[in-house]
Amino acid sequence: MKTLFPLFAVITLIVLVVAGVQYANMQFLFGVIIPYLAVATFVAGLIYRVMKWASSPVPFRIPTTCGQELSLPWIKQDKLESPSGTLGVIGRMALEVLLFRSLFRNIKLDMREGPRIAYGSDKWLWLSGLAFHWSFLIILIRHFRLFAIQLPYPIHVIESLDSFLQIGVPMLYITDVVILAAVTYLFIRRITNPLVRYISLPADYFPLFLILAVAGSGVLMRYFTKVDVVGVKQLTMGLISFRPVVPQGIGIIFYIHLFLISVLFAYFPFSKLVHMAGVFLSPTRNMANNNRMVRHVNPWDYPVHVHTYEEYENDFREKMKSVGIPVEKE
C-alpha cells in the first residue's frame, strides 16, 4: 500500500495531463500556466521554509564525535571533522554538500553465527546517491539549452563531456543512463532491504516514482518517440522571456514531461526534497566546534530574577545576628 499509493498518484498525474492536452485541448494550461505556477511555488515555498527554520534558535554548538576537537597543542586536531573556525566549517560543508561525507560513513549491521554482531562498510547507498544527485544537477544544467539561443561556453563543455562516448544520434548522454540506473537501484534498495522498507513512507516512494517518470519521459522523448523540437524550443523560449507561445503539434510526451517536472518543482518545498536547502542548515555540520573557546549564551534563556546572597543577607541580617549565624557584613 505504501508503494502502490504513490505509484497510482504518478499514473493519475500522467492520465490527467494526457486527458487535458489530448482531449480537452488545454495546451496553454499545461504548457504555460502550470509551469509558471510551479516555479513560483518552488521559489516562494523554499524561501518560506528557510525563513521558518531560521526563526528557530539553535542553542548550542553540537560537537559530533567523529573527530578530535582543538585541544592541547600536542594533540592533533581533526580540522575537517571537528573544525574550530569558519574555514574548517566551509571545508566540512563542502565535503557534505558535494561528496555526501556522512553517507560515506554508512555501515551495515550483520548478524553472524554465534550470534555475533558485525559492522561492515556499506558504500552502495553513498555511491548511488552521489551518482543520482550529480546526474540530476548536470541534466538540469544541460536543460539551459532550451532557455537560451546563444549558449554560454561552459554549458557546451558540460554537454560535450556528457555525450563524450558519441553513441548514436542524438548522442547518448552518460547522465541519462546513470540517473535511471541510480534511481532504480535506490527504489530496489527500499523494497528489498527489510529494515529500510519498514521505515519507508509514501513520501519516500512518491519522489522516486516521480523522478523516474520525469527521467523516463525525457529519455523516451530524446531517443525514441520524437517530438517537434523546434516547437518545444519556441515554447520554452516564450516561457523564459515572458512572451508565452503555444505551438501546435509538439507531441503529448513533452507535455507529460513538463507537467511531471512542474509537479516535482511545486512539491519540492513541502516535502523531504527540501533537504536541498536544509543541508546547509544542518546544525551538526555548519557550526564550528568552539564550545570551549567562545561563550555561547542560550538565546531562549528566560530572564530569571537572581536573588544574590548579598541581598539575602541585607534582608535577614538582624535575624541572623540574633540567632548567632555569622554574617559577612556587620
Binding site: 516555479v39 518552488f42 521559489v43 523554499l46 524561501i47 528557510v50 525563513m51 531560521a54 526563526s55 528557530s56 534558535p57 539553535v58 539551459f144 539549452r145 532557455f147 537560451a148 539561443i149 546563444q150 549558449l151 554560454p152 557546451h156 558519441q166 548514436g168 544520434v169 542524438p170 520524437k226 517537434d228 523540437v229 523546434v230 524550443k233 519556441q234 523560449m237 516564450g238 523564459i240 522571456s241 515572458f242 512572451r243 507561445v245 505551438p247 536547502a277 546547509f280 538565546p299
Partner: protein
Amino acid sequence: MYDSGKIITGLLVFVAIVSFPFVYSRGTNIVKPEPKIDTPVIQQMAVKQCVQPRAFMRAEHMQLLNDWRDSVVRDGNRVYVGFGGKQYNMSLQNTCMHCHSNKKEFCDSCHNFMSVKPYCWDCHIAPKENKS
C-alpha cells in the same frame, strides 16, 4: 530570525541562480526558423522529393546520416534505397549538399535556434558559401 546575515545571503544566491535564465534570455526575439529549400538544384527538380518524406527527414535526419556513415565507413556500401525505391549515393557532401547547397539557410537555421552543434563538419568540408 537568527544568523540573518548568512540566511539572507544564501537566499539571495538561490534567487540569483533561479532568475539567471530569465535575466540571460530577457527580451530575446523568438523567430521560428524556416529552413530554406529554394536552391537552384531543387528549383529545377520536377518532383521536389528528398530521400525520404518530409516528416521522416525532420525527425530522423540525424539518425539517417549516422546510418549512412556507418554503412559507408564500416561496410563500404554507398547505395541507399530511398522513398519509392529510388537509389541514392550515400554521401553528405555529394548527395545532401548537392541539393541543399545553402548550409547557412538550411542546416544552420534550425541548429542555431536549437543551440545544437552537430559534428558533421569536424571531418567533412563545408560548402564554399560558408567560407566567406
